[in-house]
């Protein structure tokens, strides 16, 4: 690839870029003042929440449990369970997370952290959560790759 080596070209492009948010699909800009509260309350770490939901979905699918069956086994409200699986911005109740963790044999405290109910600073947890989320998807039968990702992630959670 032959990139432009002219310093003036670079200065001009940099100056143009500085005047705008040029991100595509990443940062977006909006004039809507009503989203200010949303921004201020946005979690610093969104990926552990994604990992929480994905962990729940994959473990349930691996055991071939419907949401209804899992809600029954865990003794939690089905509507809340469905909301957890469909809406990553939704924060589940303490009892619900505890019950689900026990029913699926997942470490309770870690699940609380992933669900955003407990705060701990753990960059390794965040990295592992991102890796897991990037290797899985919410629906369909569990692929061998997803199975491997799930095993690895659950092992990590149990060891720390």
């Amino acid at each position: 690839m032959k990139f432009n080596t002219d310093r003036k070209w670079l200065e001009r492009r940099a100056e143009q870029e500085d005047r705008h948010f040029i991100s595509v699909g990443g940062l977006i800009s909006t004039l809507d003042p009503t989203c200010q509260a949303e921004i201020v309350n946005m979690p610093t770490v969104e990926t552990t929440k994604t990992a929480f939901v994905r962990l729940l979905q994959l473990t349930r699918r691996e055991r071939r449990l419907s949401s209804e069956k899992l809600a029954e086994i865990a003794d939690v409200d089905l509507a809340e369970l469905l909301k957890i699986e469909m809406d990553e911005t939704f924060t589940p109740g303490l009892r619900t997370v505890h019950q689900l963790a026990v029913a699926l044999n997942l470490p309770v405290k870690k699940m609380m952290v992933l669900a955003g109910l407990l705060q701990i600073k753990d960059p390794h947890l965040q990295q592992a959560s991102v890796r897991f989320a990037a290797r899985s998807e919410p629906v369909g039968s569990v692929s061998p790759e997803e199975h491997a990702a799930l095993e690895e992630y659950v092992k990590f959670l149990n060891e720390r």
Partner: protein, 69 residues
């Protein structure tokens, strides 16, 4: 630059004719066009393997499933 390997391709007259026509239409070399076809095939294959279905939708919004593989 990723190293490239060479392959000989034996096509029928009809296949070659289609390849040439598409190349002109898409303003692509024949190699570039076949590369696009391979990329598309990989995406479609990956998604169907995951259980997704591949549909075409006609202007009247009628869906027809396109079976691949």
């Amino acid at each position: 630059m990723n190293p490239k390997r060479t392959m000989t391709l034996n096509l029928t007259d009809q296949e070659m004719s289609v390849l040439e026509e598409l190349s002109i239409q898409k303003d692509l070399s024949k190699t570039a066009l076949l590369r696009q076809a391979l990329r598309l095939y990989q995406i479609v294959d990956a998604r169907i393997s995951r259980g997704e279905k591949f549909f075409f939708e006609d202007p009247d919004k009628q869906k027809a499933e396109l079976m691949v593989l």
